[in-house]
Amino acid sequence: MFESPERLALGLLTGIVFGFLLQKGRVAKFEVIVGQFLFKDWTVVKTMGTAVVVGAIGVHALVAADMASLHIRPALFGGILAGAVCFGIGMAVLGYCPGTSVAACGEGRRDAMVGVLGMFAGAVVFIVAFPLIQPIINGLGNGGTITLPQLTGTSPWLWVAGLVAGGMLALIITWFTSYRPLQFKQTHETGRS
């Protein structure tokens, strides 16, 4: 029924830091998440992108040092496809994703609290319907717990380097598209010198 108290305390501590960061990052807000889907507010992509690039470096270093192991979810194509479609519709309408709806509850948002109740109900439906939905989950085959490096027979570090390069490129593009006044000023200064 319960894991060890040490692991429970560790989970709680990790969660508190996670929730604190999500709230400070403004991603526990309806307008920020829906704003991302409307291409108006890029906070979600910036936050997730940075987390993935930074996280990938450290986690692959830990794995290389034999201090952690990868935990890959299986590529059950039916479940992934059907799940992603339901998830995308649900998240867009609710305006929060699962982690951020819990954080939004902490921020006092009532619609997120009702959303979390709905999430629990959705999980109950999943459990009860589990035998019936197996054909959907397994219907399109199972690619296994495979990573992109394994699929392509390449080094994970090549992909981590690719993520870092992609992140840098995105930063440069962001710099040139969102700091127009500065760009304008710089051209003037260059013209003067």
Binding site: M1, R26, V34, A68, A92, L94, E107, D111, A123
Partner: protein, 182 residues
Amino acid sequence: MANPFFQKSWTPYVVGAGIGVLSWFAFATADHPLGVTTAFEKSAALSARAVMPTIEHSNEYFAKKAAEGKPPKIDWEWMLVIGVFIGAFVSSKLSGDRESAIVPPLWKWRFGPSAFPRLVVAFLSGGLMMFGARLAQGCTSGHGISGTLQLAVSSWIFIIIAFTVGTITTFLLYGKEGARHV
């Protein structure tokens, strides 16, 4: 300089880097990726079994998870979810960034100020989102951050489709005009 803990927001790069480092911490100390929805699945399984004990034998879910060595229980990830609530609560209290409005402004512009429809739709969409997350075995955290940083094939497929569908749904709901109201 003002104490950052009392500020209402931090730049997304600092927060993102913080979440990245937090996943190192999670992997190093608990050998577990950051994820949220598995805890909901486990709570639902525990509740279903408490209400209807026969489900443990009639529903293959329980036998399957027991065989995988992952029977439903109150675990690291379950406490992580409790922690997310506490962390966000503390952060918003420290900065005063609290929100008590039931209907977000964009929703109000599109569907009116009435709270009841917003709450009914929030319940249903929350349910659909969780059902989808459990079909795919992950959400924005489990697949979108933890899975993609591990370079999992399943996670990259999931997050690309989920965010594409989310974008299409949002434009169907609010249209281009919506961007002026967020």
